[in-house]
């Protein structure tokens, strides 16, 4: 029979092809092996931009693991810093996730929701090994279990240019401890030194958490941060911008960021991890001995890195054993000493390295940061994705420029973010 090439037949063929293709997309995670099986065989361990700087340490940990577990071999794969999320996304969508993979919680969340990660709490007593807060970072709303071994932690401390503070009518020994004090002192500084700035940033979601404002409702189903209190924070930033208390470039594409402007001596305040002080002093030697350190404003942020285990690992038992091994107290403490980060394991606070200040700025930053960790919180909920952050930043930028009010910016943002959340 000859098929007539009518438009109807062409459309029907296209529809059939589309329907067939519909079944071709996406990959489903494969079945993993027995998590309680023998610890043997080869696994891949993927890290995020840790080599060559920490290659010696990582290879040492791998050698120790292989020695303690004969018959195992671990291949270390380090991925570049840029594009890591795209790399993991491509691995996940093609079901080629490495057996053990370095993931922060916000990367782990969508993978856990798609059953691509193994619930490590089934095999490991998490609470007795790690800080509660760090384990909680890998528990997600709507997904039962824990989807990563906490590896190392980070937090921010405040760095102040002491010379600038003292020269502009402020006291470098009593820097601001709250956002309110920050704005007050920024105003004082702008009046005394119009060319110097204390604030050089725009607020984000985390700034509302700092002020005790709920970002999401209790169920995590709706954003609720468009409160008058949150709007007042945005308006306060807008006022500071209008009054010349912030560099006008904060809304520009060529804005260098708080940290670079601090290094260049153009702003007197920035935040950073414990290692940041060494970078400031290296890049601008005039800052040496001239940087005051204090805990983060209001609440310290908590940054968590972890290692997750692929649910479809062919050597699940080995992957679990390696995940536990690389994040155990001994290995974490050693890594924390080398990389100047903080361990997430119970009992690490007994190590004087994290608690005793030897008088150097680096030790002061480390001890201040470690103390803050006890009360640190994840400031931005993991369900806030890139598109949401972009939209909020755009609306806040309009408010800071004075085009709309803080309340308008937040109302529009919350409406849009709820739309996006409902579609996740």
């Amino acid at each position: 029979m000859r098929i007539q090439r009518t438009p109807l037949a062409t459309a029907a063929s296209a529809l059939v092809a589309t329907a067939l293709l519909a079944g071709c997309s996406g990959g489903s995670p494969g079945e993993g092996s027995d998590p309680e099986g023998e610890v043997t065989g080869a696994i891949r361990f993927q890290t995020w931009s840790l080599t060559p700087t920490y290659a010696e340490y990582l290879n040492g940990v791998i050698a120790d693991f292989e020695e303690a577990n004969p018959g195992t071999s671990v291949e270390l794969v380090d991925q570049p810093g840029d594009g890591y999320s795209e790399k993991v996304l491509s691995q996940a969508s093609t079901n080629t996730l490495p057996d053990v993979v370095n993931l922060p919680p916000d990367f782990a969340l969508p993978l856990a929701q798609q059953d691509m990660l193994y619930d490590v709490s089934q095999s490991t007593d998490m609470e007795s090994t790690y800080f509660e807060g760090s384990v909680d970072a890998f528990r997600f709303d709507g997904v039962e279990g824990v989807y990563g071994y906490p590896w190392y932690l980070g937090t921010d401390v405040n760095y102040w240019n002491a010379e600038q503070l003292d020269a502009c009518g402020l006291d470098s020994t009593a820097p601001p401890a709250t956002t309110d004090e920050l704005f007050e002192q920024a105003s004082t500084m702008a009046q005394a030194c119009p060319e110097s700035y204390l604030i050089s940033r725009v607020p984000g979601v985390g700034d509302f958490t700092l002020e005790g404002i709920d970002i999401l409702n209790e169920d995590g189903t709706e954003f609720v941060f468009n409160t008058p209190e949150a709007a007042a924070i945005v308006d306060r930033y807008a006022e500071a911008y209008a009054n010349g208390e912030m560099p006008p470039t904060v809304l520009n594409a060529d804005y260098l960021g708080n940290s670079q402007l601090f290094t260049q001596g153009k702003v007197a305040w920035t935040t950073g991890g414990a290692t940041a002080i060494a970078d400031f002093e290296e890049n601008n030697p005039s800052l040496k001995g001239n940087v005051a350190i204090s805990p983060a404003l209001n609440i310290s942020p908590l940054y968590v890195q972890g290692v997750s285990v692929s649910a479809s690992s062919e050597n699940l038992a080995t992957a679990i054993a390696f995940g536990e091994f690389v994040t155990d107290a001994e290995n974490q403490n050693e890594f924390a000493h080398i990389a100047n980060v903080f361990p997430s394991t119970q009992g690490s606070d007994a190590d004087p390295y994290f608690t005793e200040d030897d008088g150097t700025p680096s030790a002061k930053a480390r001890v201040t940061g470690f103390e803050s960790l006890q009360t640190a919180q994840v400031l931005t909920p993991y369900s806030v994705n890139g598109a949401m952050n972009d939209y909020l930043a755009q609306q806040i930028a309009l408010a800071i420029r004075g085009d709309i009010s803080g309340q308008e910016a937040l109302d529009k943002s919350v409406e849009k973010l709820n739309d996006l959340l409902a579609r996740q």
């Binding site: 598109a387 972009d390 755009q394 996740q424």
Partner: protein
Amino acid sequence: MTVTDVTAPVAGGPPAGHPRRDRGPTRTTRKITPWLFLAPALGWLFVFSIWPSLNTIRMAFTNAKPLGGNERYVGFENFALILRDDQVVNALVNSVVFMLVCLPLLTVLPLLIALLVEKKMPGITFFRTAFYTPVIASAVVVALIWTFMLDDRGLVNGLAQAMSIIQEPLPFLTDRWLIVLSAVSLTVWKGLGYYMIIYLAALGNVGKDLHEAAAMDGAGAVRRFAAVTLPAVRGAMLLIAVLVCVAALRVFSEVFIMTGGTGGAGGEAMTMVMLIQQYSRGFTGDLGYASALSILMFVVTLLPLLLLAKINGRSSE
């Protein structure tokens, strides 16, 4: 039904017992062979062009996510969302304005430059090369250089302030329309050489005798341009107009880099491609909505092309 004795000699055929002469490929082989030659190209076309396009249409009617899973058909929900999304209207306006400004500039200016450099004289190759050089430069690098030139403390504002033309720096990288115009300037500067080459090829086909005849009839330079040159390059001009429309509607890197990826304050200067990128990236990207936006963009791109095709058809008549 009759059964033919296949062993019986056929009238006009080779005598029985004589070896059968090779009559070349059979009818089936003749039908299949071209398709076999075409198969690699068709496979390539299907995998990298047709399949992604069909898949985009399919995803536009779903809530597809990069990681798959829980995907469901949502009907026209994504398209309904487009209708009430003010970001889309904003991005669409920016992209169309960008196209409308680029279209005349990139259709006319390269022709004028081509007319200047088509003359055969010593050193003209240098000028042709100079005009073409921006074309081969990376769009990202060029956008970065222009960003440095146009920022508040950049060369353009610095010079204008030094010459007392302006008191305050012009917000080339923060004001919505100045961002769009800055991106247009960059695109025109970078694209001139490319379109100039197309015009040079078209001008090469214009017979000298036509110009000479027109000159003998007393036509001046302007008249000769209007009566001889323009009709001769009309085809190239329409081709360039089509290329400019498509390229302008797809503008991304210029605006993305000039605004540091933000699309300016409030995302006011965001273009359609930037919006699609914003929605589709990351683990939690909304591929369904991004696909619906892509279809909208495809339709919008088609409109000027159809219009130009109609103009072309009318002028051919």
